[in-house]
Subunit: 344 residues, 2 copies
């Protein structure tokens, strides 16, 4: 409980205070069993008195590797990614690691900057939902020797780990659910198509539609500029502007934010959900269940996604026999009130 002198005390100072050598202090820290009880207690007392805290940088330098993982998420405004982050953190905690959480916000240069910083930190692994899985700085970073795990995007190639959810299947089950509910015309709300997740979910929807021989025109694609609540609201307006004959009685949104925006517009415009418009979202974020009309959504195992990604990165970092793995999870439909009734 001594006052600070400006600089944090080192093992050397603890050793001096306890009247032992520096090596002994290190032993107390790392292999307490080889130290006699009396000296150990003396050293521990000195550590407490001086307020000694291990210097992690020095340990890292010595060990050659840090005790941290990193997650670079794609959109900090979407709770889905925070749930993935929570899964990562839980796995990291088990392994006694710290986590750097970064947000590229969809910007490729911000992503590159984050990667660069993380490489300098010598993090054990980088978990990344990439802006563009083909961007050169990804390959460049991987070449530097830090494990990179793609999150929520299947690796195109076999030379890196990835965890993802089968988005094509997700698109299928969403549309199948609406068909079971008796809907004849369905809108797919989502874009831009440069986003792989959007492409795949739309593809799944179209596959089912084609397999059942439905008229192509009855699966309407309402493109959006982003996956946000505001865009969902705007899509609602466009939907309402359609002539009644052509207007779909159900919408499948590429994610829950769009779905919430669409729902908000419907409620505001007096459109009954699900009576006049059934809505299916995607991701099953907590706010989907909490919406005024609880939202049917396609659930992704978000935490599991994060935990698995962390596990893979750690394996790649520590296991010399590591083999790259492309984990693929299955989505599941969670039916709620927003598709609870067929149209009257």
């Amino acid at each position: 409980m001594t006052a600070r002198n400006g600089r944090a005390p080192s093992v050397k100072e603890v050793a001096a205070a306890a009247g032992v050598s520096l090596g002994t202090v290190s032993n107390v820290l790392n292999r307490p069993s080889v130290v006699s009880t009396s000296t150990r207690e003396r050293v521990e007392r000195a550590m407490a008195e001086l307020g000694f805290v291990r210097n992690e940088s020095a340990r890292q330098l010595r060990a050659g590797t840090s005790r941290a993982l990193a997650y670079v998420m794609l959109d900090g405004g979407n709770p889905f990614f925070h749930d993935v982050a929570a899964g990562i953190e839980s796995a990291a905690e088990d392994a006694d690691l710290s986590v750097f959480v970064c947000n590229s916000g969809g910007g490729i240069e911000r992503e590159a900057k984050h990667l660069d910083r993380l490489l300098q930190q010598r993090v054990q692994g980088i978990l990344l939902t990439p802006v563009d899985p083909g961007a050169p700085h990804l390959a460049e970073a991987a070449r530097r020797g830090t494990p990179i795990v793609l999150v929520d995007r299947a690796g195109d190639t076999r030379d890196q780990c990835s965890v993802a959810v089968d988005d094509v299947l997700g698109g299928r089950i969403a549309v199948e659910h609406l068909l079971e509910r008796g809907h004849q015309r369905v809108a797919f709300v989502g874009g831009p198509e440069s986003v792989g997740q959007v492409r795949d979910r739309l593809r799944g929807a179209r596959e089912v539609w084609a397999e059942l021989g439905r008229p192509t025109d009855d699966l309407l694609h309402l493109p959006t500029g982003a996956l946000t609540v505001a865009e969902g609201r705007a899509a609602g307006e466009r939907l309402a502007g359609l002539p009644a004959r052509r207007r779909p009685g159900a919408a499948f949104c590429a994610n829950d934010l769009l779905a919430l925006g669409l729902l908000q517009h419907a409620v505001g415009a007096g459109v009954h959900v699900p009576g006049e418009l059934a809505i299916v979202g995607y991701d099953d974020i907590d706010f989907a269940a909490a919406a005024a009309v609880p939202l049917t959504s396609v659930r992704q195992p978000r935490q599991e996604l994060g935990r698995t990604a962390a596990r893979l990165a750690l394996d790649e970092a520590t296991n010399p026999q590591h083999r790259h793995e492309q984990a693929m999870f299955a989505p599941a439909l969670v039916a709620r009130a927003s598709t609870g009734l067929t149209r009257s």
Copy 2:
């Protein structure tokens, strides 16, 4: 572009490859102007070829301090804290720092564990929304010499920095707004009272009530066990269970999650919002504006809160003349549809 040999190349290897001394490589990195153009180019070429990446741990060890800030948030499930985190990250980016984002989840021992780890990392500063501002491990950590800034909680004492929003004022303006709207009976929904924010907001509400000489019983306190959507829903049920004479026509919720839960219950039960029940939330998270009935809420300058906290921590870490500062922001009411009409 040489293949990896298992270990990342160091300045020494770059120096050897470029045929210069290690000190020169360091100069290229840190003071390029003192190096002649030809050698600098040679060194830079060698760095590119070997894929050299600075080792941040070594820099830190040498410098005695890290280039990172940390934020320990109270509830990862509440978007409010992620918005604060975004503000912190933006300030950190300006200062070229990394950010560790941690989540105590309201657990005092998780908080302590995070603090311990962060002290070991020698982060420049720790921004913290504490579980309990009086917990001993906070003082203990501060004694270790790492700046600690309280976020969203005013420091009780003058011996540390803090950033907060005036919650008493926030409670006042929420209730004033409802009174202006003509409401006679109001429920305050929120708890537990161990949470300082809840206490202050309730106090503000009561102050206004008393100042205007309203009957105490007309400001009903509906306690909740937590600040979550589920608790908001439950509160809605209790509200609905009250006899009509005593039932308040308006609710002021201690945060937006409660408000959203309450709104969901109302919509599900066919209670018109705001006609039969007006709702005011707190925090103005993005989902408040995105709710089916857009939520009136008390806005806190979330990003600004984070940015200021980061600035204070950094000042404390680097400026020897630093004086502790208790920044206090003013909340503002954002009126939306959930209080749009007075009761009929």
